[in-house]
């Protein structure tokens, strides 16, 4: 059993501070919307196609409204206007709307307004029910087939071609994978649209598109039935389209999403406001769809030193958790990220990694947690790197990680080969089988190095939380406290997509999701 190490009061205090830290951000969120949030609203209404040059219709529409300075009332409102103008299908609505000359966007009589909103709310309810129905299918199959015990072995495929991905995902599932992640093309998070249709060319990964999601989930449903074991699917809801990807994932029955309140800001240089606003709606959708999110604190210690910056991971986890809870996510949906990244050249790293993983487990007892393998200090010596990964496998099962991304012996070279995944899965299965239950066998001395390190790290994370509370999260980010990366509130990509809401801003989905 991990800990105690620290008191429940200390942990409660950390949560309190996280709440105070996120308060000002929530004002920002409440006051603003973004182009991608509004595009998501339209996607809910069933607008999924793409126009000339593959530009998604939702982009055409939202650009138009944005240009006309009308987005502040919410795309749902204009969608309603289009309906009132007789549009009989989402597509027609698009045509009508994109046809409207800016000036034509005059106000309606109050009664009209009322009726319009009613009608749109009706459609929204239907749309949400539609998504819930799909989710029910997913949950049904999951229950029917069951899953192997945690840690769920998570591997990535990244061919760039969705059909090759399917081939490799099936192979990985056959070799024992519990979760398949389709890594995105390296540039995608910088795109202010979600590409359309099945794709076969990507760099370092495959584009995340609704159709690609569908193709992969269908293949995994089939494979799951063959294996009589439900295989989960995940993708990435970071970047400039957090909410839209969350919608696509919900619609296509994905099980998880990498979704972090700050990753885009820090590691993709996406505008801070934009990210905070987008992440909220995206997480509301995850809450609805029973999607498990994976946060990205593990990334911090690929840029910052894992030994020195251990506390930044803990502090950020409390903040990420708070953002998630305030978006309606439940504990079981929090795949809070951390990793085994301390330089193996140091002494006692296994004790240090155990300490850190136990501390995370102690702070988030009911969350599945998402454990990441060593990456930064991986060597091109694949035999050493394999041994290094084995120790992470042991920490994962020891600290009951719900989700474990398996380390690859070729991490320092290339995205995994088919055989690399096989090797990792075979060894991880052995380690999990061999050591399962060790946490119940063993107690850690409260006065030892593991416990003292945990207390020390927790103490420093409290200091950092305190600073964030005092000076603000935005200031702390500006000082490079997270991942050694400094970002300014108005810097980065996508600020132009942030729009202040009008008093009569209308987004029935948000209303329903916040209500439920």
């Amino acid at each position: 059993m991990p800990g105690p190490f620290i008191t429940d009061e200390q942990i409660a205090r950390a949560r309190e501070m996280a709440r105070e830290i996120t308060d000002p951000i929530f004002d920002l969120i409440r006051r603003n919307t973004t182009v991608s949030t509004e595009r998501t609203v339209l996607r809910f209404f069933g607008i999924s196609g793409a126009g000339a040059g593959g530009v998604p219709l939702v982009n055409l529409m939202v650009e138009k409204l944005h240009a006309a300075g009308a987005l502040n009332r919410g795309a749902a409102y204009w969608y309603g206007r289009a309906l009132r103008m007789g549009a009989r299908s989402p597509l027609e609505a698009v045509e009508k709307l994109t046809a409207l000359p800016a000036q034509a966007l005059a106000p309606l009589p109050p009664a009209e307004e009322q009726a319009l909103r009613e009608e749109v709310r009706g459609e929204a309810r239907a749309a949400l029910d539609e998504v819930k129905a799909r989710i029910a299918l997913r949950d049904g199959l999951r229950k029917e087939l069951g899953m192997s015990p945690p840690p769920h072995k998570y591997v990535i495929v990244a061919t760039g071609n969705i059909y090759d991905d399917v081939d490799q995902a099936r192979a990985a599932a056959q070799a024992g994978a519990d979760v398949i992640a389709v890594i995105r093309s390296t540039a995608q998070s910088l795109l202010d649209y979600v590409p359309h249709g099945a794709t076969t060319e990507g760099y370092g990964g495959t584009y995340a598109t609704q159709e690609n999601f569908r193709i992969m989930r269908e293949a995994l449903d089939d494979e799951s039935r063959k294996l009589k074991r439900y295989v989960q699917l995940t993708n990435y809801s970071s970047g400039l389209c957090m909410a839209e990807i969350a919608f696509c994932a919900a619609a296509e029955r994905l099980d998880m999403l990498l979704n972090d309140a700050m990753y885009g800001i820090l590691f993709r240089d996406i505008n801070l406001r934009r990210t905070f606003i987008d992440q909220y709606f995206s997480r509301r959708i995850c809450a609805l769809a029973g999607i498990i999110i994976n946060t990205g604190e593990d990334n911090y210690i690929t840029t910052a030193d894992a030994y020195e910056a251990a506390h930044t991971v803990i502090a950020s986890q409390f903040i990420n958790e708070c953002f998630a809870k305030r978006a309606g996510l439940k504990d079981w949906q929090l795949g809070i990220g951390h990793s085994y990244e301390i330089d193996p050249a140091r002494p006692e790293t296994f004790l240090l990694e155990l300490s850190q993983a136990m501390l995370v487990r102690r702070c988030f007892p009911d969350a599945p947690l998402k454990y990441m393998p060593p990456t930064k200090h991986k060597e091109t010596d694949i035999f050493f790197s394999h041994a290094y990964d084995v120790m992470a496998d042991l920490v994962a099962v020891w600290t009951r990680q719900g989700i474990q991304l398996l380390g690859m012996m070729t991490e320092a070279m290339h995205t995994p080969l088919l055989a690399d995944r096989y090797v990792a899965l075979k060894s991880a299965s052995y380690i999990h089988r061999a050591a399962r239950g060790i946490d119940e066998e063993i107690t850690v001395r409260e006065d030892g190095k593991i416990a003292n390190r945990a207390r020390f790290v927790f103490g420093k994370s409290m200091e950092l939380l305190e600073e964030c509370r005092r000076d603000g999260l935005i200031a702390a980010i500006g000082r490079g406290h997270f991942g050694d990366v400094k970002r300014a509130e108005t810097g980065g990509k996508g600020l132009e997509g942030v729009v202040e809401k009008a008093p009569d801003y209308f987004n029935p989905f948000l209303d329903f999701l916040e209500a439920s």
Binding site: R170, A175, Y203, R268, D269, T302, T380, M413, L418
Partner: protein, 262 residues
């Protein structure tokens, strides 16, 4: 080299000199079976290996078999034939190098660097440019006789080049870490085109770096030099200083120095 050195034939050493033992692993897209094992053995033999032992045949998936093979290679290499430029000048440390620039060039060398294209890997370029440096070796920002700017990652090639031109940079540093589907080659080629279009080519020194980069590759792509895994900032600093001196005609092209990219 003056005259041909005596042959020095070497072969892989497994358990005894020249036994030629090599370990291989690979996957064939066929289900595990005796037939698959035979195919793996034939493959190894066709590659010229002898005494082929298919040690393991693992069911990696329904239609993929992962093989581990031990075999002997008849091939030997004449180690004496492989020549690497002999070092003439010793590699200069932080102070000596700054002194060299001060005395022989007499002005601060301007360098700009970034991780360009869609690549977000900053740790590598940071290691070279930032104060902190890498593995206890100071970064270029720390050198009084360098004027270094790190533009970060995901920087469009054009932007890096224009900013460099604006500052009359002596060297432009490009980092490429993601290499899948040779994206680094495409992006680097595009960088060189842009550099030519914008007139930076031939003017500033163009350096390429990254874990999968080596000098040869960089030259092929049209850069002046390439730096791979484990590069130290001081290697880069030494290269730039000597290259500038050579350009100025103050050092012979033939001068070779320690840590020189090769």
């Amino acid at each position: 080299m003056a005259q041909k050195p005596p042959k020095q034939l070497i072969r892989p050493y497994g358990d005894r000199r020249d036994d030629g033992v090599v370990q291989l692993s690979f996957t064939l897209p066929v289900p595990l079976s005796e037939k698959a094992k035979e195919a793996a053995a034939q493959f190894a033999r066709k590659m010229g290996f002898t005494d082929v032992k298919v040690a393991a045949a693992e069911r990696a998936a329904d239609h993929y078999t992962f093989f581990i093979v031990y075999a002997h290679s008849p091939v030997s290499i004449d180690y004496a034939e492989i020549d690497v430029p002999e070092v003439v000048v010793k590699k200069l440390g932080f102070d000596d190098l700054n002194a060299l620039i001060e005395q022989r060039i007499g002005r601060r060398l301007v360098v700009l660097g970034a991780c360009t294209g869609s690549d977000t890997h900053t740790v590598g370029i940071d290691a070279i440019l930032n104060m902190k440096g890498y593995a206890g070796d100071y970064g270029l920002e720390r050198y009084p006789w360098f004027e270094a700017y790190n533009l970060g990652s995901q920087v469009p090639n054009e932007e890096l080049i224009q900013k460099a031109m604006a500052r009359g940079a002596d060297a432009i540093l490009v980092s490429q870490v993601v290499t899948q589907r040779d994206v680094h080659k495409d992006n680097s080629a595009h960088f060189i085109e842009a550099a030519k279009k914008l007139g930076a080519h031939g003017k500033a020194l163009l350096l390429l770096g990254g874990p999968r980069v080596d000098h040869k590759l960089a030259l092929e792509l049209g850069f002046d030099a390439g730096f791979g895994s484990g590069t130290k900032p001081s290697d880069v600093a030494n290269y730039i200083a000597h290259a500038v001196l050579k350009k100025m005609g103050k050092e012979p092209q033939s001068l070779h120095y320690e840590g020189e990219p090769a």
